[in-house]
Amino acid sequence: MDFHAAPEQQALIDSAVRLLQDHYSQTTSNARTEFDAERWQQFAELGWLGTALAEGNGGLGLPESMLNILVEALAPAAMPEPFVSQVSLAGYLLNAASPSARRDECMAKWLAGDELVALAHHEAREQACFGQPVHTRATARGDELVVQGHKAVVLDGGRADRLLVSARLNDSAAMLLLLVPQDAPGLEVTRHATFDGRELADVDLNGVVLSRDARLEFAEPVATRIDAALRSFALHLAADSLGTAKALFKLSHEHLAEREQFGVKLVEFQALQHRLVDMQLAITRLESLLALARTRSDADGVSSAREFIAAAKIQAGVVGRHLAHESVQLHGAIGMTEELLVGRYFKRLTANELLGGTGVEHLRVFRAQRALS
């Protein structure tokens, strides 16, 4: 039981910090929101995309916790590149799928940073994240599958080169996961830019015809695997929120230490010092919950660790709001403007709270797992 960063963890964090210093120096809320293909290539070259992928699949074979630590270290960049959704949804599912020519080709391109892959699973914008029914249907027709349905909240859906579409086979309950190229006839993708610079899409599949090998095979039921990918997404969103909260703390502390009013630096006021301490205590709580969720995810897998992931995700929302509100307040009026990064972080934390299962949904999971009723 060691809570210090191991050398390989520290090396990963250091490489992330170096990249941030070199390429993510924006200091305002609404600067660069466009995806940078060159950056993405660099992530691939550094091996980051494959952090938690099996070595046999071309990844680094590191545990989920290491990816989580990397996500936390990258958070201060508040980058427009969809690292979190790509590694936890696309990366997780491609890694879990059984080898096949189609999967191997897709994964190689994804790992090389040449292609993005988006999970198209949810079907309504208002839907909860976990345990949702799938109405999209794949009908077998000779050697082909014909897919009909609608998908919503597809992160990176417009930018992705391929979609991973969940669908029912014929009238059965069996769920499939299908690789659908962005240019497939009958596929209609409507892009939406989110308030925090992410991209998601609504997707219509109007008789999209796929060959049978578009179907990814899994050792376990597809629904179980998708559920696990979503838990992993929640875990990494919580780490992104932790890193973002820490960045906000730093900005706020710097501001109070620089800003002078009434003839003194604001940080000299004890009331403000204690506000900073309470922010730090909130961060410490989230750090501890993530340490627990990481350990349990590595030991038992993300599905079995769901209650601890839920705890971390809930607390990420609570702590994220606390840090965002206090950071704006401590900065004063300038904190409301797009002149600073504060607003960018605030929006990012807010979006993190809405994705990967809200606090309300994870609270339900947590209560059920711990028999709190």
Binding site: M1, Q280, L281, T284, L289, A299, F308, A311, L363
Partner: protein, 395 residues
């Protein structure tokens, strides 16, 4: 539960050993009495009985090295021992002798002092209390005014100490006193005083709960030998600070808080006055309690070598006291008029309960408002945490 898969085989085996011991030796009466305890402070009589059972293994002094009569457990083993004892409702151990005096005497004492003090703490001959706060020195501890005047081979003490927990039970008191008139820290010294010495009087301070936890101790020209000095004259602040810092290595609140939380949940299940969103509130508390358990281990026990140790101890102190108070607060929020009846059934046998009729848990709610005041108020703790944040920013 928390540590499944995280403990080494050896540590897991130690935990099993602790659990087996508790199953064998911790009887239901002891547990019930502990659950009914009206403050977080150990009860002298019940802790004495429990210590007698722990003594053969040295587990009453797990953190003290074997050569001094303790069990010499590693920080993690000590954590496991105390977490499990708290979780299973074992009586709390009195901290003043075991956690404060013995390690401090080992660190600062002469050989003669070690030989005299440590065995008597460990075998229960001495029961210590703490003479730090004074009427004019609460949070600002370094301003203590009680004076020790050197005359020949003796010191003569004049002044008073206040908020002295269990002075009514103790036969010894350790004091932070002033040995020079200057208002500097190097004018402070650390002294060990016999409560039976002529000129020492104890006045009880009753709490609004009716309980008697605290006292004021008066010193009227109390003569003590120079050998009663622990550490050198003028080095008292360093000794006191060491004493306050070591609590992080020995205190574990996670298990006790977890037990308190579980009992609150039991009460919530039989609650006549349901509170809207009660179980969501309990879940949020559970989450923060989980966070605390990891924080306590991470900052308090797994990282004893860290540089900003005292700030981390402050974080742990703020967190456990405020969590404990929130658990109690939710308890009052789900209670109704039945609480106004203090039936005998709702009361245990606390030696400090001196007679205002109320349920034990309610007295606990009142008494534990002190938790965020004692041991350095949480405002002082926040000052200390901020000081560390300031240093971090400069680095």
């Amino acid at each position: 539960m928390l540590f499944a898969g995280q403990l080494s085989d050896e540590q897991a085996q130690f935990r099993e050993e602790v659990r087996a011991f508790l199953a064998e030796h911790l009887d239901a009466g002891m547990v019930a009495a502990d659950d009914a305890q009206r403050s977080m402070v150990a009860d002298p009589e019940r802790s004495k009985a429990w210590i007698a059972l722990l003594r053969p293994r040295g587990w009453h002094a797990g953190h003290i090295a074997k050569e001094f009569g303790g069990a010499g457990l590693s920080p993690i083993e000590n954590y496991i021992l105390h977490y499990e004892m708290g979780l299973h409702g074992a009586p709390a151990l009195p901290p003043m002798g075991l956690y404060y005096v013995a390690p401090t005497a080992i660190e600062f004492g002469t050989q003669a002092q070690r030989d005299e003090i440590v065995p008597r703490v460990l075998d229960g001959s001495d029961y210590w209390c703490q003479g730090f706060s004074e009427p004019g020195s609460g949070s600002d501890l370094a301003s203590v005014a009680m004076f020790a005047e050197r005359r020949g081979d003796a010191y003569f003490l004049n002044g008073s100490k206040i908020w002295t927990t269990d002075a009514q039970h103790a036969n010894k008191i350790f004091c932070l006193v002033r040995t020079r008139r200057e208002n500097t820290r190097d004018a402070l010294s650390f002294m060990l005083v016999d409560m039976a010495a002529a000129g020492v009087t104890v006045r009880p301070i009753r709490l609004f709960s009716g309980d008697h936890d605290f006292n004021q101790v008066f010193f009227d020209d109390v003569e003590i030998p120079v050998e009663a000095l622990l550490g050198e004259e003028g080095n008292g602040w360093a000794v006191a600070k060491f004493l306050l810092d070591i609590e992080r290595g020995a205190f574990v609140f996670g298990g006790r808080l977890r037990r308190r939380f579980v009992r609150l949940c039991e009460r919530a299940q039989n609650c006549a006055t349901p509170l809207a969103g009660l179980w969501d509130k309990l879940a949020q508390l559970d989450i923060e309690l989980l966070a605390y358990e990891v924080t306590e281990l991470r900052l308090g026990h797994a990282a004893l070598d860290r540089s900003n140790a005292d700030a981390e101890a402050s974080v742990v102190k703020i967190e456990w006291t405020e969590l404990a108070q929130r658990i109690d607060e939710l308890h009052i929020a789900i209670s109704g008029p039945e609480t106004l009846y203090a039936d005998a059934a709702a009361r245990g046998a606390s030696t400090r309960d001196e007679g205002i009729a109320m349920p034990d848990w309610l007295a606990g709610y009142f008494n534990n408002r002190a938790a965020s005041i004692y041991g350095g108020s949480n405002e002082v703790q926040r000052n200390l945490v901020y000081r560390a944040l300031k240093q971090q920013r400069r680095r």
